[in-house]
């Protein structure tokens, strides 16, 4: 029989050994402290479920004190941030489709005169409802905000216009997803999330496995060049990525009825670049990590912010500027815009060219890092 002091003694022995081993694995130790800090910053400061200051374009075909009050009132509400104002409908044309703005406010010609005559003219807000969360709060508040702003102008003989119903008719077009179905937003996004998760991690682990099992020495002793090893090891996972894409797209259609109105080739082209970006990322992780576990940790370390800051879980345009800038780095951010654009908004090649280039640039940098870091020798 063991005495209680012997039991404690042995627990202490294991405890001390574990503490030493924990400290010695610098990467894991670092992650244990970096992860919570990163999450605190992201959840505490970057993410906003009641997104404000959403970029808005305003198409004003008529300038008057009344229209200025409306624009000013919406801007003061903090929900809208007017990033452009024009009187030419062609300029606002595809801003919404490309995701540059979340709203387009249109004030038609003759609005002021009709309002003053009590004819309740129409005011149009087109919202990008492909992300229902981003669109809902701002549009729900718009009517009240405008009516209140106008109250200051409609005084004296016009006071009768400031009562109920408001002197204008606010029409909201929830474009691309009129019913606000969350699945339309989530399911195309999942394609990007699943590809990031599996491909970066699987590639990273496949490479570090060679180091962990000691087979890397053998591989390096044989006449294979780094580029050949990289392409050969990565290619199988490209097929995995293709299979995953097919499964998700079929499920999106059959199970969730997600509309698919854009060109398939454009989506597949985007998928291809995105897959390459993630495979290269996994390969780069494997040149940093020594073990499969570390490769997995690195993947998570990258995956978490890219999940949270890409616009997958929370509205991208609702985040503060610094978070949006960080978000622009992640290929997932650009991929989500591309997938949602093609599936829900029927965008064309030129409209997603920016996203394709951003993903391409990321890939080029990552591949360069990978090639520099890949150890041709065991040094």
């Amino acid at each position: 029989m063991s005495s209680p002091s012997q039991i404690l003694q042995r627990i202490k022995a294991v405890f001390l050994k574990e503490m030493v081993q924990m400290r010695r694995d610098k990467m894991t130790f670092g992650m244990m402290f970096m992860m919570p800090i990163m999450q605190l910053v992201i959840f505490g400061y970057a993410i906003n479920n009641d997104p404000k200051q959403l970029p808005t374009a305003v198409l004003v075909e008529e300038q008057s004190p009344i229209t200025r009050t409306i624009v000013q009132g919406l801007a003061n509400s903090n929900y809208y941030e007017f990033v452009m104002q024009t009187d030419d409908p062609r300029e606002t044309g595809d801003l919404l489709a490309r995701g540059k703005v979340a709203f387009v406010l249109s004030i038609p010609a003759g609005f002021t005169a009709q309002l003053l005559r009590g004819e309740r003219p129409q005011l149009l807000i087109e919202a990008d409802a492909s992300d229902p969360t981003a669109a809902s709060a701002a549009t729900a508040q718009a009517q009240t905000i405008i009516a209140q702003a106008l109250r200051h102008d409609l005084k004296g003989g016009l006071a009768s216009l400031s009562g109920q119903p408001p002197p204008f008719d606010l029409v909201v077009h929830r474009k691309y997803n009129p019913e606000g179905v969350t699945a339309y937003n989530i399911v195309p996004g999942l394609l990007g999330v699943i590809l990031t998760m599996t491909l970066a991690m699987m590639t990273g682990m496949a490479m570090t496995r060679e180091h962990e099992y000691g087979t890397m020495e053998n591989l390096l002793a044989m006449p294979a060049r780094p580029g050949e090893v990289m392409v050969g090891k990565i290619a199988p996972y490209a097929f995995v990525g293709a299979a995953q894409t097919a499964v998700i797209l079929i499920a999106a259609k059959l199970l969730f009825n997600v509309p698919f109105i854009g060109p398939l080739w454009l989506l597949l082209f985007g998928v291809m670049i995105f897959v390459v970006a993630n495979l290269a990322l996994g390969f780069t992780f494997s040149t940093i990590a020594r073990t499969q576990l570390q490769a997995m940790q690195l993947t998570f370390f990258f995956f978490l912010p890219s999940l949270l800051l890409s616009g997958f879980m929370f509205p991208f345009r609702g985040m503060p500027d610094w978070a949006q800038i960080i978000g622009e780095i992640f290929p997932l951010t650009h991929f989500l815009r591309l997938v949602r654009g093609v599936m829900l908004k029927d965008v064309g090649f030129l409209q997603v060219l920016g996203e394709l280039l951003a993903m391409g640039l990321f890939t080029a940098i990552i591949v360069a890092v990978a090639m520099l870091r890949y150890r041709r020798t065991l040094d």
Binding site: E217, N218, A221, L378
Partner: protein, 310 residues
Amino acid sequence: MSDDFAIDVHGLVKRFGSKVAVDNVDLQLPRGEIWGFLGPNGSGKTTTIRMICGLLKASEGSGTCLGFDILREAAQIKALTGYMTQKFSFWGDLTIRENLEFVARLYCMPDTARTVDETLEKLELTHRQHQLADALSGGWKQRLALAAVTMHNPQLLLLDEPTAGVDPQARRDFWDEIHRLSLEGMTVLVSTHYMDEAERCDRIVYLANGRKLAQGTVPEIIEKSGLFTYQGRGPGVRRLAERLKGYPALKYVAYFGAALHISSSSREAIEAAIARETAPDVTWSETQPTLEDAFIAMMDDAGIDQREHA
């Protein structure tokens, strides 16, 4: 000049941080010979082999392997060299056949299937070709590894402790195969801890603390050590051993089976010691120093404490 040598390297130095793993090693290995690479663990054998085949970059020094510069032409060297690592480093989750196929393809060998078939037959592993490599015993793994690294008919074979942990019969078969390959013209550099294996080599190189302490045939090395060795037998040797270790002139006091070996560069010193430390039940006789006696004496001369490397 370097055409006659498979390996011709000078002044090789390898540092890892502030640690010097290999310190100024020269090696001229004529084509077609089998050389043994001996020395305690951590003496720099593996590091030297890795520098020769381009897996590590030498910090200093230069040289050629099979006529190619070891610093700049690693790719050419790799194509003509077979390197068997200390630890089994083929893919345990691939079958025997798949491992061989992978190697054959990587070396761009024509007719992969036939080459692999022939190799399997030679290995007598045809009936087990679809088993996972991990399922093989130590001896078979080592045979598979040797077959895999020689499949592309390399000119030079670098073997890093190939027989560690392998049973005596398998070791003997392994060495038969090495000699057969040597007859075909392959040059072999093999590191080992086994003295009997060292004696099967044309020449041996002894490394300690990263430095080359000796090189030559077995008799040459024993001769050069200038050692005299006496052997004591009898039930009393155990008591004598501790006392004899107190004599600084005796370089080496150790058991060989039941016998006690004492060595010194001075015959008088040995005779004086055994005359003083008499025991009625111990009989002494002079014997031929072994390779091991010579190595330990050399480490002693070089100022290396052998217990650090035990």
